[in-house]
C-alpha cells in the first residue's frame, strides 16, 4: 500500500534531527516519559469523545440502525430508545458512555448478542499471532535488504531490491492477497493449490504438534501477504537512513583507522541508521493494523480485523465502536512507547 511512504521519509529525517531542536529544554527521561504519557492520555480521551459524537451525531437514528430496517412499532422504538438510554439528554448519555468505557464496558453486540469485550478477547490471539509473526519477518527482511542496498548504493542488488519494493508499495494489499489466494490456494494451470485459504485451523484439526503445523500451514498465505506489503517500507527507510550515514565523517574515520568494510558497516554505520528505522516500525503500527484487517478479511482469519470487518458489513454499530476504540487506543499506546524508547536509545536526543 502506498500510504506511509511520503510520511516515512520526513518522519525518519525528523527523528534523526531529534525532537530537541524544537524544544530545547533540559528535561530528564522520566519527565519526558511522563509528559508523553500525559499526551497519550489526552489522545485517548479525544478518541473516546470523538467516537461518542461521531457515532451519535452523524445521520441515522441509532435505534433504527440497530433494528436494521426491521419494522418496529412506535412503542417498540420508544422502549428500545429508553433501554439504550437514548431518551436522556445528550450530556447524560455522554456521561454514561464515558463511565462505561472507562469500566471497559463496551456494550453488547447486536449481531452476536454478546458483550463486545468478550468477542474482542476471543479474536485478539489470532491477530497478535498473525501480526506478530508477520512483523518480525517483515522487519528482519526489510532491515537486512535495506542495509545491503544502502551500503552498496547503486549496485545491482540495490536497484533490483528498491525496484521490487516500489512495486510492492503500489500494490494494494487486498489484490496481492487475491493473487496469492488464486495461485497458491486454489492453484492455477499446472500449479496445484498447496496452502489452505480459509480460517486458522482445519475442521478436523489434529492435536499436539500436528496442530501447530496445521495452524502454520494456514498462516503461510496471510503472513506472506502482510510481509510483502509491509517490508518494503522498512527496506526503503533503512536504505535512505543508511545513505545519510555513509557520507558522515565518522565513517571516513572508521575506514581511515583501517577497519574492514564489514566492520565499518556493522559497528558504526548500521547502529546509527537503525534508530530512525526502528522508531518507524512502531510509528507505523496503524498501517499494519489496516493491513491486518484486509488480510484477515481475505483469508477469513478469525482475528480482530475480521471482527471489525463483519461489524462494518452488518452493520453492527456497538461492535464497530468497541473494536474501533480498542484498535485506536492500542495504536496510540504503541506510538507513545516508541517515542519514549527512542529517547532512551538515542544519546543525541537524550542529551539535548
Amino acid at each position: 500500500m502506498t500510504a506511509p511512504l511520503e510520511a516515512a521519509e520526513p518522519a525518519a529525517v525528523q527523528a534523526a534531527a531529534g525532537p530537541g531542536d524544537e524544544r530545547p529544554t533540559h528535561r530528564g527521561t522520566l519527565q519526558y516519559a511522563l509528559s508523553k504519557a500525559g499526551g497519550a492520555l489526552f489522545s485517548i480521551a479525544m478518541v473516546i469523545i470523538g467516537t461518542f459524537f461521531v457515532f451519535r451525531l452523524l445521520p441515522g437514528d441509532p435505534v433504527r440502525n440497530l433494528a436494521q430496517g426491521r419494522n418496529m412499532t412506535p412503542t417498540q422504538l420508544a422502549l428500545e430508545r429508553h433501554r439504550l438510554g437514548l431518551d436522556k439528554p445528550l450530556i447524560d448519555q455522554f456521561a454514561d458512555f464515558v463511565g462505561k468505557t472507562l469500566r471497559f464496558d463496551l456494550g453488547t453486540s447486536y449481531e452476536y448478542k454478546r458483550p463486545v469485550l468478550d468477542l474482542i478477547g476471543e479474536r485478539l490471539g489470532p491477530t497478535l499471532l498473525l501480526a506478530g509473526v508477520g512483523l518480525v519477518i517483515a522487519v528482519s527482511l526489510g532491515l537486512w535488504q535495506g542495509t545491503r542496498a544502502g551500503w552498496r548504493h547503486n549496485s545491482r542488488f540495490d536497484r533490483v531490491s528498491t525496484g521490487i519494493s516500489l512495486v510492492l508499495w503500489s500494490v494494494p494489499t487486498f489484490w496481492l492477497g487475491l493473487l496469492l489466494l488464486m495461485v497458491f490456494g486454489v492453484g492455477i494451470g499446472p500449479i496445484p493449490g498447496i496452502f489452505p485459504t480459509r480460517g486458522i485451523e482445519s475442521v478436523d484439526a489434529p492435536d499436539g504438534f500436528a496442530y501447530v503445523l496445521d495452524v502454520a500451514a494456514h498462516m503461510v498465505l496471510p503472513c506472506l501477504t502482510l510481509v510483502a506489503v509491509v517490508y518494503a517500507q522498512y527496506l526503503l527507510v533503512m536504505r535512505s537512513s543508511l545513505l545519510e550515514e555513509v557520507s558522515q565523517d565518522y565513517v571516513t574515520v572508521a575506514r581511515a583507522k583501517g577497519l574492514r568494510d564489514d566492520e565499518v558497516r556493522r559497528r558504526h554505520a548500521v547502529p546509527n541508521a537503525l534508530l530512525p528505522t526502528v522508531t518507524l516500525v512502531f510509528m507505523r503500527i496503524g498501517f499494519i493494523v489496516g493491513g491486518a484487517v484486509t488480510v484477515e478479511t481475505i483469508y477469513s482469519w478469525p482475528g480482530l480485523g475480521q471482527l471489525f470487518y463483519e461489524a462494518i458489513r452488518v452493520p453492527d454499530f456497538t461492535l464497530m465502536q468497541g473494536t474501533f476504540m480498542l484498535i485506536t487506543v492500542a495504536v496510540i499506546l504503541m506510538n507513545t512507547l516508541a517515542d519514549v524508547v527512542y529517547r532512551m536509545l538515542d544519546p543525541r536526543v537524550r542529551s539535548a
Binding site: V54, L58, S170, P172, F174, G286, T294, F308, I312, T328
Partner: protein
C-alpha cells in the same frame, strides 16, 4: 506603476524557474514515463462517455457468455454475468480516478491550510493545531475511513470525505516545517516591517514557496487515495458505482479464483497498479527535482 513592474519581474522569474524545473524533470526517465501513462489514463477516462455509457456495468446488459476467458471478441474476458471486463474497467476508471483526485485534493487543501496556519501562528493557535494534527496522525487511517464511510453511508461524496479527512496530517506536518523554514528568512521580517499582515505573508510569501512541494505531495496523495478507495470498496464500503475496487470485490464474492477466472482478478488490479505506479513515479521525480535537500544528496 511600480506594482506592475515588480509583478512582471516576479512572473518572468517564475517562468524561468518553471523552464528550469521542466528541464530537470525531463531528466527523470521514470517521472516522464509516469507522466505519459497518467495522461493516457486521464484522457481515456475523460473520453469514455463518447463511446460507452453506464449500461456496460448493468447486470442485464451482459450479453456474453459467463466467465468467458479472454478472446478476440472479449480481449479481457467476461465476468459472472457475462459483462465485458474491458468495458467495465474502462468505465470504472472514471470512478476510481475521480475519487482519487478529489480525495487527494481535499486532503491537500486541509493539510495546506492547517500546515501553514500551524507554522505561521506561533503560540496557542499553532500549538493547538499541531496537537490536532498529531492526534489525527496516530489514528489508523484505513480503520477510521471505514468507520466514517460506514456511518455516513456509501456515496461518492462520503468516500471522498472519509479518505480526505483521514489522510491530511502528513501533508500538514510537511507544510508546517516548510512554513517555519520560509518564515525564518529575512524578507519575511522585511515584509512585516513594511506592514504586511498575516494574510499577505501567508498567501504572498509562504504559499508560493511551499507550492512546489504541495504539488509533489498531491501526486503521491492521489496514488494513495486510489489505493484506499479500492481497499474501502473491497472491504464493502463503496459508492455503489463500478470502480476497480468494486470489480475486485465482485471477483472475490463470486469466487473468480475457484472458477479459474484469473482475468477478472488480474485486469482491474493491474489497472490500479499501473495508475498508482505512474503517480508514484511522477511524485518521486517531482520531489527529487523540487526538494533542495534531496537534490543536494543527489
Amino acid at each position: 506603476m511600480s506594482a506592475v513592474a515588480t509583478g512582471s519581474v516576479a512572473w518572468s522569474r517564475r517562468r524561468l524557474a518553471f523552464g528550469r524545473f521542466w528541464r530537470d524533470f525531463r531528466q527523470h526517465r521514470g517521472g516522464m514515463a509516469g507522466l505519459v501513462a497518467l495522461a493516457v489514463a486521464v484522457v481515456l477516462a475523460l473520453v469514455a462517455p463518447l463511446f460507452i455509457d453506464q449500461s456496460v456495468t448493468s447486470v442485464v446488459s451482459g450479453t456474453g457468455v459467463k466467465w468467458s476467458p479472454p478472446s478476440l471478441a472479449e480481449p479481457f474476458g467476461t465476468d459472472e454475468s457475462g459483462r465485458s471486463v474491458l468495458l467495465m474497467v474502462w468505465w470504472g476508471s472514471r470512478t476510481s480516478l475521480l475519487i482519487g483526485f478529489l480525495a487527494a485534493l481535499l486532503s491537500i487543501v486541509i493539510g495546506m491550510v492547517v500546515g501553514i496556519a500551524a507554522g505561521h501562528f506561533r503560540g496557542w493557535l499553532g500549538a493547538t493545531l499541531m496537537r490536532i494534527t498529531d492526534w489525527f496522525l496516530v489514528l489508523p487511517s484505513l480503520i477510521t475511513a471505514m468507520v466514517l464511510a460506514a456511518i455516513l453511508g456509501g456515496s461518492t461524496f462520503t468516500i471522498i470525505v472519509a479518505i480526505g479527512v483521514t489522510t491530511w496530517p502528513t501533508t500538514a506536518r510537511l507544510i508546517r516545517s516548510q512554513t517555519l523554514a520560509v518564515e525564518a528568512r529575512p524578507y519575511i521580517e522585511r515584509s512585516k516591517a513594511l506592514g504586511g499582515g498575516h494574510w499577505h505573508i501567508t498567501t504572498r510569501h509562504v504559499l508560493p514557496n511551499v507550492a512546489p512541494l504541495l504539488l509533489a505531495s498531491t501526486t503521491l496523495e492521489v496514488a494513495s487515495a486510489i489505493v484506499t478507495e479500492s481497499t474501502l470498496a473491497f472491504l464493502g464500503v463503496s459508492a455503489n458505482k463500478t470502480s476497480w475496487g468494486t470489480m475486485l470485490r465482485a471477483s472475490y464474492d463470486f469466487g473468480a479464483a475457484t472458477q479459474g477466472a484469473w482475468w477478472y482478478i488480474i485486469i482491474p488490479g493491474l489497472c490500479i497498479l499501473a495508475v498508482v505506479m505512474a503517480f508514484t513515479l511522477c511524485g518521486r521525480a517531482l520531489e527529487a527535482v523540487l526538494n533542495p535537500r534531496l537534490r543536494k544528496a543527489g
